[in-house]
C-alpha cells in the first residue's frame, strides 16, 4: 500500500513536470498582408495583398485599403501559402511517447470507434507550437490501436480547448487486417500472421452482421421516435459508415491487403479513404479505378521489402497521383509533424514536382475531408490559415516569419526556439561561484 502511495505521488510529480508548453499569446484582429507573392494553389501564383478579417480571407487583390484598426504586414519579397495540412498524426494525443500515462491514442479494445481523439487532444502539448511554426496549421490526429481504433479529428493547431481547435471533420479509423509485419521486431511466423488476419476478418464480419441488425432497429426506432432499447456505442458510431453517409479512414499498406481492402470496400459500399498506402504504387491503377483517395506516408521511410527499389517510398505519392488518385501526404508522426513540408519535398524531388506536392499538403487533403470550401488554398471566404516565408517552404534554408491559424497570428516560438534563445550564449558560462 505504501508503495502504491509512493507510486501515485511519483506519477503526480512526473505529470506536473510534463504538462506542456507555454508560449506567448496569439494575436487576433484584422490584418493586411502587403505585396506578397501569393501561392494560391488553386489560382496560380500572383502578386498582391491579402485582407484577413473575422478569421477569414476577406479579400485578395492589389493595393487593398487598410481598414481602420487593421495591422499591416509588409510581405515584400515574401511568399504566402495556405497552411499545410497533415493527413495523419497523433499530435496532441501523446506528450512523451514512452511514458504511457501521457499517451492517449491507444485505448483498450478492438471495436472502439466511439473513442474520440478530439476528447484527448491537449491544446498545450509542447509539440503543437513546434509543429505550427514550420507552417503546419492543421492536422488529422488519430487513435492508433484496435481494429476500429476510434474517431480521428481534424484540428487546427491554435486554441485553448479541443472545441476551439476542431477543424470540422472527423471519421472513424479502421486498421485493415494486415498480412505484413509491423517491423523488424515482429517475429510472427507466416502461419500466425495468416491466422491473425483470418481472426481479424471474422471480427469485421461479426461487426457488420451486428450492424445490419442494428441499422434495422435504429431505423425502426427513428421512425417510431422511440429510444433504442439496446444502445451500443460502437455500433452507433459505425452506423453512418455502414449506411454510406460517413467516410471511413482505412489504414492499409501492403499490396495484398490493399487489394483485399478494395474488394471489401466495394462489397459493402463503404465510402473509403485509404491511409498509409505504402505499397500503393504497386496497385495504383486499381486504386484509381475505384476512385479511392489516399493519404500517403510517411514518405521518409524505407521500402517494405528488401528487394524493392531504395527510393520507391519517395516515389509512391507521385506514382499514385499520376495514376489519377487524389493524394494527400502525412507524416504519421507526433513530435515531428513539423517535417511534413520535407516529406512533401522528397515526394516533389522524386517525381511529383513542387506544385503537385504542395497540393498534397493543402487542397488535396481539404478535398478528401470534404472541407475544400474552408481550407487548402488562398481563396476569399476560406479560413485564414496562412504561411508567410522567404522562399520555397520545402527547402530547409527557408525561414517562416508568420503563421496564421484561423486568422490568429501565432507566436513564432516554441520549446526549441526558447531553449536556443536561452542557451546559445549561456550565462553564466564556465564561471563557478564560490
Amino acid at each position: 500500500m505504501k508503495r502504491n502511495i509512493y507510486f501515485v505521488f511519483a506519477l503526480l510529480l512526473s505529470m506536473g513536470s510534463i504538462s506542456g508548453q507555454m508560449v506567448s499569446k496569439g494575436e487576433g484582429g484584422t490584418f493586411v498582408l502587403k505585396n506578397a507573392t501569393l501561392y494560391t494553389i488553386t489560382n496560380g501564383i500572383k502578386t498582391g495583398d491579402i485582407l484577413v478579417e473575422n478569421q477569414k480571407i476577406k479579400a485578395i487583390g492589389t493595393n487593398l485599403a487598410l481598414p481602420s484598426g487593421a495591422k499591416s504586414i509588409d510581405c515584400t519579397g515574401k511568399r504566402i501559402y495556405p497552411g499545410f495540412i497533415d493527413g495523419g498524426t497523433t499530435l496532441g494525443l501523446a506528450e512523451v511517447s514512452s511514458v504511457s500515462v501521457t499517451v492517449d491514442h491507444n485505448e483498450i479494445g478492438d471495436v472502439i470507434p466511439q473513442m474520440k481523439a478530439l476528447t484527448a487532444v491537449n491544446p498545450n502539448a509542447s509539440a503543437i507550437p513546434v509543429t505550427r511554426t514550420n507552417g503546419v496549421t492543421t492536422v488529422i490526429t488519430h487513435p492508433t490501436t484496435g481494429r476500429f481504433a476510434g474517431t480521428a479529428a481534424l484540428i487546427n493547431l491554435h486554441g485553448y480547448t479541443p472545441d476551439q481547435m476542431y477543424g470540422g471533420f472527423s471519421a472513424v479509423r479502421m486498421l485493415f487486417p494486415s498480412t505484413g509485419r509491423f517491423g523488424r521486431w515482429d517475429r510472427r511466423t507466416d502461419e500466425v500472421i495468416k491466422a491473425d488476419k483470418e481472426k481479424a476478418f471474422d471480427l469485421i464480419n461479426e461487426v457488420w452482421k451486428d450492424l445490419t441488425l442494428y441499422h434495422r432497429i435504429d431505423s425502426v426506432a427513428t421512425l417510431r421516435k422511440t429510444k433504442l432499447s439496446n444502445y451500443r456505442p460502437d455500433l452507433h458510431t459505425l452506423l453512418p459508415v455502414f449506411r454510406g453517409t460517413a467516410p471511413l479512414l482505412i489504414e492499409v499498406n501492403k499490396r495484398e491487403d490493399i487489394q483485399e481492402a478494395l474488394g471489401w470496400v466495394k462489397k459493402y459500399k463503404v465510402k473509403a479513404i485509404f491511409t498509409g498506402v505504402k505499397e500503393g504504387w504497386r496497385v495504383a491503377d486499381e486504386i484509381a479505378k475505384e476512385k479511392i483517395p489516399c493519404i500517403v506516408g510517411p514518405i521518409l521511410d524505407n521500402p517494405g521489402r528488401d528487394y524493392d527499389a531504395y527510393d520507391i517510398v519517395y516515389k509512391n505519392p507521385s506514382i499514385l497521383s499520376k495514376a489519377g488518385v487524389l493524394v494527400a501526404i502525412r507524416t504519421s508522426q507526433n513530435e515531428n509533424v513539423r517535417n511534413l513540408p520535407f516529406n512533401a519535398g522528397f515526394a516533389a524531388a522524386y517525381g511529383m514536382g513542387t506544385e503537385e506536392a504542395l497540393k498534397a499538403i493543402t487542397i488535396n487533403p481539404a478535398k478528401i475531408f470534404g472541407m475544400e470550401t474552408s481550407y487548402g488554398s488562398l481563396e476569399v471566404g476560406k479560413w485564414a490559415n496562412l504561411v508567410i516565408c522567404d522562399g520555397d517552404p520545402f527547402e530547409m534554408k527557408t525561414k517562416i516569419s508568420h503563421v496564421f491559424i484561423k486568422g490568429w497570428s501565432v507566436p513564432m516560438e516554441n520549446r526549441h526556439t526558447q531553449l536556443y534563445d536561452e542557451f546559445l550564449t549561456r550565462s553564466p558560462g564556465l564561471e563557478v561561484k564560490d
Binding site: 512523451v96 511517447s97 514512452s98 511514458v99 491514442h105 509539440a127 514550420n134 492508433t144 486498421l175 494486415s178 505484413g180 509485419r181 509491423f182 517491423g183 523488424r184 521486431w185 515482429d186 507466416d190 489504414e251 499498406n253 501492403k254 491487403d257 498509409g276 505504402k278 505499397e279 521518409l300 524505407n302 517494405g304 521489402r305 528488401d306 528487394y307 524493392d308 527499389a309 531504395y310 527510393d311 504519421s332 508522426q333 507526433n334 513530435e335 515531428n336 513539423r338 517535417n339 520535407f342 519535398g345 522528397f346 516533389a348 524531388a349 520545402f394 527547402e395 530547409m396 534554408k397 527557408t398 526549441h416 526556439t417 531553449l419 536556443y420 542557451f423 546559445l424 549561456r426 564556465l430
Partner: protein, 452 residues
Amino acid sequence: MKKILYIALTICMPYLCIAQVTMGDVLIKNGTLLTITKGILAETDILVEKGKIKRIGKNISAPSASYKVIDAKGMFVMPGIIDAHSHIGLDVVNEATSPVTSEVNVGDGIDPFDINVYQALAGGVTVSHAMHGSANAIGGQCQTIKHRYGTYNPSDFIMEGAPRTIKFALGENPIRVHGEGSGIVPRTRMGVEQIFRTAFTEASIYKQKWEDYNTGKAKDIPEYSTRMEVLRDILDGKIIIHCHSYRADEILMLMNVLKDFNIKKICFQHVNEGFKVAPELAAFGATASVFADWWAYKMEVYYSTAYNAAILTRNGVITSINSDSGELIRHLYHEAAKTQRYGNLTDEEALKLITINPAIQLGIDGRVGSLEVGKDGDIAIFDKHPLSIYAIPQFTIVDGTVKFDRKNDKIDMRIIANPDDKVTSSFIEYHSHDDRCMEGVADFLFKVHSHK
C-alpha cells in the same frame, strides 16, 4: 537457411579472406567540388587512382582507358558522407548480459548482406560507425565500417587502420535493462556513475598488476581478463569512447569521472541536452554527435531543441549529425540541412556535420571527410546542392569504386536472396523514432519500447 549459409561461409573462409578490397580508378570531370576543408572549386576534375585521391584540378585526363570517367558537369561533388552512429551491417547489436561488456566487439558480427548498407550508399554515405547498443553502461566495442557493399566477406567492411572505439551508455537504457529488468545496479544515474568508477579503478589495478609482473616486481602471473584488457586500453588512450547520453547532468558526471582517470578521448552520442553544457564540453575537448531534430519520444529527450547542433557548433564543440537508424542514414544531407532552418549554420558548417566532423570523432579525418589529395576516394555526387531538398544522389564511390549509380540501380540490389527474409514490414502502425540501440534486450524487459 542462415545456418547453411554460415557453414558455407566458414568453409569458404580461407578463400574469402584472401579476397582483396577493390581499389578503383575513377576520373570525375567538371563538377562543383565541395571540398569541405578547401572551399568550393567550380568546374574542377578529381582523379582517384587505386582508391586514393591523386589529383584535384582543371583539365585532368584519364591516365588510361581503364579509368571510369564520370561527367559531373552541373553536379555537386562532395566527400562521402560519414555517419558516426549507426547499426547497419550488423547481425547483433546488444550484449545486454552485464552492465560492463567491454570484451565484446560488434566487428565480430558484421552482416555484409544488409540491404540497409546499399540504401545508405544511395544516400551518399560511404562510412559508418557500426555501434554496440545502449543496454550497458560500458557496452561493447564498435567497428568503423566502409560501405564496400557487394562483398561476401564481412572483414572487407572493416575500415583498416581506423582507431578502436567503444560504446558507453548513460540514463534510461542501462537503468531499464539492468536496474528495472534484472534488479541489479544501476537503477539510477547514481548507480551508472559507480559502474564507471568501479570498472576504471579495477582496470587501474589490473594494469598495475601486469606492469609489476612485466617489470619483474611481482612474480605471479596475474589473471588475464579480456574485459580488463579493453578497459586498460581506454585508460591508455588507445580507444575512443562514444557515449550514448541525453541529460546534461549525466554528461557532466561522465566528464568528471574521465577527468579523475585522466581519460580524454570522448564523443558524446545523441547528447540531446548537450546544448545546456556546451561550454563544459568545449573546455573538456569532448565532441558531440547529435540528431537533427529527434526529441520527446522519451522522458530524457523531452527538453530538447533542434538547435542543438547549432548551439554546440557556435560554442566550439566539434559536432556531427548522425542517424542511429536505417532510415535516417539514407538522407543525412537533408538532416544536416535542417541546421540551416534551426540555427542558421552556413553551407560549409552544415556539410561539416556529416563529413569532416564525424571523421574527427572516429579518428579517421586523415583518411576521409574531405576532398584532398592523398585521402581515400570516397565521394558522393549530387545533381543539385546536397543541402537542397531537391538534391538526389547520383553516384556514390568507395575507394574509387562506384558502389551506387542511380541510372544503373537494378531495383533489387540484394546480394543474396535469403528465403528467410521477412517478406515485408510494410505495415507501420505508429512511426516514431525507431532504431536499433535497444535491439536484442527484449528478454531483459517486461515491456519493450520501440524507442531508443
